[in-house]
């Protein structure tokens, strides 16, 4: 009995911990996905709006009032990069529009969760999302003029 009870306790806490980590990863992935999609909603060239939109989407999706979000700490702001966020479009070697790439990391603090009873440590996790800008959604008016800001360049 002295062996069985601690073992059962360990298995239960371990299982809950794994579930919590899976949820946190899913939450982070959703937030980064939505932020990447938000980055390409403003028209090409409106870099300020793109940055504001992806930050807003990330901060309001990884919501601190969420159940598992209460155990998460965001050490740094989300960062997105890509030609679209520099006000231009470029083609990849495959001939598609170069994507916007967003990445963020969070720290899952087990000390603030039920797992803290057994292991008050923390786990760092990160997520990356890529989205391709759409000419239709962003450059409809400009594509009529060849050589305008919506004409993709090479590289």
């Amino acid at each position: 009995m002295a062996l069985v009870i601690p073992l059962m306790f360990l298995i239960t806490i371990g299982f809950v911990g794994v579930m919590l980590e899976m949820r946190a990863e899913s939450e982070l992935r959703t937030a980064v996905d939505l932020a990447a999609q938000a980055a390409i909603v403003p028209p090409l060239g409106d870099v300020g709006a793109s940055i504001a939109d992806y930050r807003y989407a990330f901060e309001h999706t990884l919501n601190p009032s969420g159940t598992e979000s209460a155990y998460l700490t965001v050490p740094g702001a989300i960062s997105c990069s890509g030609p679209y966020l520099e006000g231009r479009l470029s083609l990849t070697v495959e001939g598609t529009l170069a994507p916007v790439t967003c990445s963020a990391s969070v720290v899952l603090d087990f000390a603030r969760s039920p797992i803290g009873v057994l292991w008050p440590g923390s786990v760092q996790m990160s997520a990356t999302a890529r989205v391709q800008p759409s000419l239709y959604r962003t450059c409809l008016e400009q594509t009529a003029g060849i050589g305008g800001p919506c004409t993709p360049g090479s590289g």
Binding site: I5, M8, A31, S65
Partner: protein, 190 residues
């Protein structure tokens, strides 16, 4: 068997119970049986409690993942222009519940999915959506009029948590589910 032992009358033979100090009153009771039963009851109770904890955390993960996916899909719907509006700067928040309620209901065990009927912004937590009871999850989609749409899934999904236990946001028979996302609406012109 030696002859000396065979001659000892059964009434005077020291019983096993007497040797070990146990009681021979209860028919068929062996020494240590009570202790074993007590240990079994303790371990069995703990085992059941831990099994319920494992099943509940597994249910919570599935249901929260479904809520996450539903919110993600709801944002996509909310950002689309409403039907019949060729140009729109506001989202189609009315289309969110019909779009995601089916997938959400399939993942929620013994839990009803209902549209949020409260006025103003979406609930900021599971307890705000469902102050008492459990077994209901609400879908909220609002356009704040300032260029943002918010989609929230909040409530308490049915669980196996026994009465009188409320720790870390769980309540009797209910697991908190709260997923929310908010994005800036785009302007679309086909």
């Amino acid at each position: 068997m030696t002859p000396e032992k065979a001659e000892v009358p059964s009434a005077t033979r020291p019983s096993r119970h007497r040797r070990t100090g146990g009681r021979a009153g209860a028919a068929g009771c062996r020494p240590g049986a009570g202790q074993a039963m007590l240990e079994f009851a303790l371990v069995c109770g703990l085992f059941l409690a831990m099994l319920l904890a494992i099943v509940d955390s597994w249910l919570w993960t599935i249901e929260s993942d479904a809520a996450d996916a539903a919110v993600d899909q709801g944002i996509g719907v909310a950002l689309a222009a409403p039907a019949g509006a060729p140009t729109s700067t506001s989202g189609d928040v009315g289309g969110v519940f019909p779009s995601i309620s089916g997938m959400l209901a399939r993942a929620m065990f013994a839990t009803r999915v209902e549209p949020w009927r409260g006025a103003g912004p979406c609930p900021a937590g599971a307890a705000q959506a469902e102050p008492e009871g459990s077994g209901r999850v609400y879908v909220c989609a609002v356009d704040d009029g300032a260029g943002h749409v918010t989609v929230t899934v909040a409530g308490y999904a049915a669980s196996l948590i026994p009465p009188g236990l409320s720790l870390f946001g769980v309540r009797s028979g209910g697991l908190p589910v709260f997923e929310s996302a908010s994005v800036t609406t785009g302007t679309y012109a086909p």
